[in-house]
Symmetry: C2
Subunit: 236 residues, 2 copies
Amino acid sequence: MDQVRALVFDTFGTVVDWRGSVARRMARVARAKGIEVDADAFARAWRAGYRPGLERVTSGERPFTPIDVIHRERLDEILEQFGISGHFGEAERAKMTLWWHQLDPWPDSVPGLRRLGTRYLIGPLSNGSTVLLASMAKRAGIPWDFIMSSSIVRAYKRHPDAYLNCCRALELEPREVMMCAAHNDDLEAAQSHGLRTAYINRPYEYGADQAKDFEATGSFDIVTDEIGGIADALGC
Amino acid sequence: MDQVRALVFDTFGTVVDWRGSVARRMARVARAKGIEVDADAFARAWRAGYRPGLERVTSGERPFTPIDVIHRERLDEILEQFGISGHFGEAERAKMTLWWHQLDPWPDSVPGLRRLGTRYLIGPLSNGSTVLLASMAKRAGIPWDFIMSSSIVRAYKRHPDAYLNCCRALELEPREVMMCAAHNDDLEAAQSHGLRTAYINRPYEYGADQAKDFEATGSFDIVTDEIGGIADALGC
C-alpha cells in the first residue's frame, strides 16, 4: 500500500447520505403543499431507478446519457406512482432533480477526508456528473483535490472504462489508486482492474430497502466502519 | 454573461508565477552546490522548451506525452546547455521535475478565486496533468472545484479538443464556460469555439523574455490586471 498516491471514493451512499438528504427535502415540500407522502419511501423509490437507468447505458442499449437526465426521468415516473404528479410543474421538477447535487455528507466523511487529504490526492470516482459532484462538494465542504465524474471517464461504474479511464486521467497505475466504497460490487470491479480497495460499511444506506452490503464480502485491503478508519489504516 | 456557469483558468503564468517559483528553487540549489547559475535565465530556458514540446504532440508528430516527461526532457537539455549537467544525478532531476507541481500563485490569485468561487464553479484548464494541478492547488491553497488537465481532455491547448472536451466533461455549452488567461492566443482559440473569455494582464510573466501579451489584443468579454477584476466585472 506504500505505492498508493490517490484515493478515489464512491459518493452516493459512501460519502453522502442520499436517502436522508432527499427524504428531508421531500418531507419539507410535501408539508408546504399539504400533501401526504412517505418521504423515505419516495427517496428509496427515486434511487431504485438509478441502477437500471445506468445499466441501459452500460449495456449499450442507450448512448451515454447524463445523470441529471436519468434522475429526471425517474422523478417523473415516481411522482406518477405516488399519485402526486399533478402537484409538480416543470420548473419544480427541474429544481428537484438538483437535490442530487445537494446531498449531505455522513458525519464522518468530511473529517475523515481532511485527514486523508494531508497525505494523498483525493477525489470522487462517481457516476455523478462533474457539475453535480463539484456543486455537492462546494456546498458541503468536501475537500476534494480533483473530480472523476462519469462525464470525465465517459462510463458508468461497474463498466471497466470507469476505473481504467480514471487511472489514465490521473496518469497513475491502477496499483497507485485506491477505490473506497460502501458497495462490494464496486470494489470487486475496481480490484479486478488492479486498484487497491477500501470497504466502508454503511449498513443503513438504503434503510428498509437494504438487501446487501451489510459487511465486506470480498477480500479488500482495508475494511472499516467510517472514512477515518482508512486514515487510521494508512497512518494519516 | 448571465449564462456563465463555470470559469476555467490557464494556470502557468495566469494563476501561478512559474518563473519566480522555479528561479527561487534553482538559486537555492545552486547555492547549496556552490555553483554559479543565472537562476532566472534557467527558469526561462526551461520554460522555452515547453511550447515546442507540446507542439510536437499537438501536430501529431508524437503521441500524447505526459507533461512531466516533456519537463524532464527539457531539464536534461538545459542542464547540458548551462554546463552544469555533471552536478545533477537521476534522483535529483526527478525531484526537480516536480518543481512544476509546486509553483507559487501570484498574490492576487487565491483571493480573487475565492470570490469567484462563491458564485461559479472554478477550475484550471491547463496543459498540466491532474496530479500536477491537484498537488499545486493543495500546496498553495488554490480553491479549485474541479481539475481539467491535459490528461483529462487528452489534448494540449491550443488544440480544439482541449476546449471542446473540457466543455463536454463539464456537460456545459461553450457559452456557459469562461476561459480566463494571460495569453491572447489561448483566449482567441477558446473564443473561436464559443467560450466566453477574460484576459488577465501579466506583463512580467516572462521577464526578460517577454515578447507578447503585454495587453489584450483581441476583443474579450473581460480585460483586467488581476483575477479579482473578473470578480468585479461579474459582480461577485
